[in-house]
Amino acid sequence: MNKHVVLVEDETNIAEAIRFLLSNEGWRVETLANGSNAVDVIRNTGPDLVMLDVMLPGKSGFEILHDLRADPAFDALPVLMLTARGQSRDREMAEKAGVSRFMTKPFSNAEMLDAVRELTAQ
């Protein structure tokens, strides 16, 4: 069965590119453009990986991450955060909230795929 990733990204063309790349790697990609229902979707579908933008309509990536880590069922779920906000305080906030990996945009496809592989290696 294919591995499942929930991608929460409101930038359509980035989401499309990531979706293409991960699908080529055999992933089943579920894309959300709004943060408001992301936690519910993740809880209901139990993905192998979550990829989060930071600035999202509805609910920020930080809030989603915080809600996930507050739930013992998802405290070890790999979460890769992708953001154009590369300032050190954002990185610190993400690390405090329990992010697994933090990447700043623009990133290379290879870098992103490597991160996904590393985070989901059994």
């Binding site: 590119a17 290379s108 496809n109």
Partner: protein, 431 residues
Amino acid sequence: MAREGLTGSRIRERRVMAGLKQADLARDIGISASYLNLIEHNRRRIGGKLLLNIASVLGVEPQTLTEGAEAALIAALREAADEAGLTGPEASRADEFAGRFPGWADVLAGTRRRVASLEQTVEALTDRLAHDPHLAASMHELLTTAAAIRSTAAILAETKTLQPEWRERFHANINEDSHRLSDSAQALVSYLDAETGAADAASSPQEEVEAFLSKHDFSFGSLETGSATEATIAEIVETAEMLRSQAAKYIARGVLQQWARDAAVLSLKDLRKEIETAGTDPLTLARNLHKPVVVVLRRMAALPELGAGLVVCDRSGTVIFRKSVEGFTVPRHGACCPLWPLFGALAQTGMVVTETVMQLGRAQAQFECFATSETQSAPSYNALPLVQAVMVLLPAPAGAGQGRSMGSTCRVCPQEGCSARREPSILSSGV
């Protein structure tokens, strides 16, 4: 179509040099002589396998036939591939890519140049990014679009067997994002251009007021009568298109009220006359004119011929008024350098601080600074008075001694080992 023109002409030139007839070369590479004729006369695009075959028959490197305008394109593609970490045999096939998809190669090379340029802009503006919400949003948009372009361009360049529908979709995406990037970059440039569109760029009431004062060249003739009324001030404020927010109007009203009070105490005519005989030393002017030093400082800044800058802060050190001068930057967001004489004047109300200073930066210039502070509130028992500090900056005369070095704000100050430093500088540590 200079590129194709050059290539076709080079093929013809090399064929003649090799002593081959057009029909012979056409036969060897498997095309008709008439088609080769069109290529040699620059009427058909040439690239990819066909170009390689021609080069092989002519015994030359493919690049020999594509030098010139194509060389720059191929170099740009190679740089893009290198930056994207593209390795293996594909990495050396930039010329083939340019030959097969010359239009998209142009798009990719142009996008790479644009991204490189924007990355430089990002670096230069990091300090503002940290504090300016409008700029932060603009930069977020730029970086997000750059990310989409980079990712999509890499898919187009690196995926060997891309389905036509995916290719079409990614071409459309990269085209759309290129336009977005262009629009965002133009909007950002407009915002950063202090000379034009200052009011549109204003993201805070304070900036609206700055733009309004700049538009008037810091000169208000109707307030110089010495008897300007509240109605005069209200008319100026209410008819000012650049003051859009109520907060900006409130601030501007306060600035103009202070202006009118100062004009009533000391006219620009009297100040000019005294400067002609006594020079520009503020203490001397204050003594001779029997006027408060703080008023003299503010009025000196209202004389355009002095080219003076002015900065006013409240007791918290927050800058509440600025008249910028080339060579001395007052940060629009974030805290100023604490070494400024302005803040020294807050230490003791009424004390006049003077110092020759030089702000570290691109347009280095020396200034004679004069700063003092005055109480703003009526005296009352057991209450510290509210205080404002005022600093005027006069261009230092030629031959002035070396001034004290100071910065604008720590984030962009290169001064190493400064005891007043609050945070690392992006210029020295890359933070």
